[in-house]
């Protein structure tokens, strides 16, 4: 399964939940803490953590889309 991750940067309130939940996929900018997307198509073993991040994000700044079956 392919996962497409997008971030809505202006919405991000730099709460950092995404970095805790999925450190391989999200980081924060040093100067203002705003989310940095490290991997827009994370591998399968990251999917659960990415979904968790999207769920925890208080600003709904993480969008996760299923891209259907195997590539």
């Amino acid at each position: 399964m392919l996962l497409q991750v997008e971030i809505d940067e202006p919405r991000c309130v730099a709460a950092g939940h995404c970095v805790v939940a999925a450190p391989e996929v999200f980081d924060q900018r040093d100067d203002d803490g705003v989310v940095i997307l490290l991997d827009a198509n994370p591998p399968g073993d990251e999917h659960e953590r990415v979904r968790e991040a999207a769920l925890l994000c208080p600003a709904a700044a993480i969008l996760v889309r299923d891209r259907g079956g195997a590539p």
Partner: protein, 398 residues
């Protein structure tokens, strides 16, 4: 329509200070949103829609149409609800502009780098407890100094000044004060912070306030800098201190849970989340609807209506449904909670608060494995009437 009843939104049950009051559970069960009267020292009693279900809290607090009910108004006297620089007095673009000047200091990376400083402060307080001996008050020797010293270090506020600013913070959060007392109290806080800000204007220090002056000083007025400093100083120590005291009290009353905190390092992060969920010491500011909007598809909140949120009872309603969320279970899989709020205003300092709790609580029970209340049959003196829930005194022995 029946006359709305008075509903203190953080009310706790008479016999058990950790349980939400029955009226809050009733409101949660109601299929219609309840309109209630909310007592408030600053505003008198006001009418508001009460939000008590977890999912409703999340949708309401992340909806841009629901705004801070009290936006800074320069023509009104300064109060905690009317202060430039305080993030809780701003909405939308004005809010995120200010917030992003501060978020860099609270990233996961930055907070992790503070761990050694926090550990050193905690160790010193454990030594102080030991020195004080049996009967020492955990609130004054441990829970209050730790977050106070941490925020002083971070902000660059002299720790020697703590007696004055702690007293002013207490007054600021005490609901049993008059509006006049609140206005005078804020004047004193502002005067104190203004001296620190003036120092940074001259020569920006190597700390959070100094950094904000250096990076954004040209865009910010002295008034705004004073407001930012006061907000961080108060928010940074009162809530965390309360959370530490209340958690310690709760663990002393539940020794099996304290043992897990002490002996299972891998359980600590989850245990802290459970304590945060269960204790829920802080409250959410009242909001106001900027336009009509719908909650639960069919419940209309009208433009201009005020809205209050109960974190306490919403935290008992979260999760998937197979868990009894009215009991404390530090080993349960982490349950979502709104102890730090939700949406654009979700707590700026939450990662710092978590770090302080994760360092301090296990260390306390490790240093004093036999920690107990000082008196047999001691009744814990909970503070249930202030804006922030906590414990007044907690004498301990070991």
């Amino acid at each position: 329509m029946p006359e709305p009843k008075v509903l203190p939104i953080a009310a706790r049950a008479a016999g058990c200070p950790f349980d939400p009051a029955a009226a809050l559970y009733e409101s949660q069960k109601d299929d219609a949103l309840q309109r209630v009267k909310v007592p408030s020292p600053l505003l008198g009693e006001f009418d508001a829609v009460a939000i008590t279900r977890y999912e409703d809290v999340k949708s309401a607090l992340s909806d841009d149409r629901l705004q801070m009910g009290f936006v800074f108004d320069p023509d009104q006297p300064r109060t905690m609800l009317n202060q430039p620089g305080n993030l809780l007095n701003y909405n939308g673009a004005d809010h995120s502009r200010l917030r992003r000047m501060l978020t860099g200091a609270f990233t996961i990376k930055r907070v992790r780098s503070l761990r050694p400083m926090i550990e050193a402060i905690v160790e010193a307080r454990l030594d102080a407890l030991e020195e004080e001996g049996h009967g020492a008050d955990l609130v004054t020797v441990f829970s209050t100094p730790i977050p106070t010293q941490v925020i002083c270090e971070l902000l660059g506020v002299p720790y020697e000044d703590r007696d004055d600013f702690q007293r002013r913070a207490k007054v600021g959060l005490d609901v049993n004060t008059t509006r006049e007392e609140q206005i005078q109290n804020l004047k004193d806080m502002d005067a104190y912070m203004a001296t620190l800000v003036a120092g940074h204007r001259e020569q920006p220090g190597d700390n959070l306030l100094g950094g904000v002056v250096r990076d954004y000083g040209a865009e910010l007025s002295d008034d705004e800098l004073v407001g930012i400093g006061n907000m961080l100083l108060i928010a940074g120590h009162e809530t965390t201190a309360s959370m530490l005291s209340a958690s310690a009290a709760l663990l002393l009353e539940n020794p099996d849970q304290a043992t897990i905190m002490r002996d299972e390092p891998e359980a600590v992060d989850g245990a802290i989340e459970e304590l945060l969920r269960y204790v829920a010491p802080a409250t959410i500011m009242p909001r106001q609807a900027a336009e009509d909007f719908c909650l639960r598809d069919d419940e209309v909140i009208k433009q201009g209506e005020r809205v209050v949120v109960s974190i306490l009872v919403a935290n008992r309603d979260a999760g998937s449904g197979d868990q009894d969320l009215d009991v404390l279970d530090v080993r349960r899989p982490p349950q979502p909670h709104v102890t730090f709020g939700y949406g654009a205003h979700q707590c700026l300092g939450q990662q710092l608060a978590r770090m302080e709790l994760r360092v301090a609580l296990p260390a306390l029970f490790k240093r004093f494995p036999g920690l107990r209340l000082a008196e047999p049959d001691q009744k814990i003196d909970y503070r249930t009437t202030a804006l922030v829930f906590g414990v007044n005194r907690l004498p301990v022995a070991w």
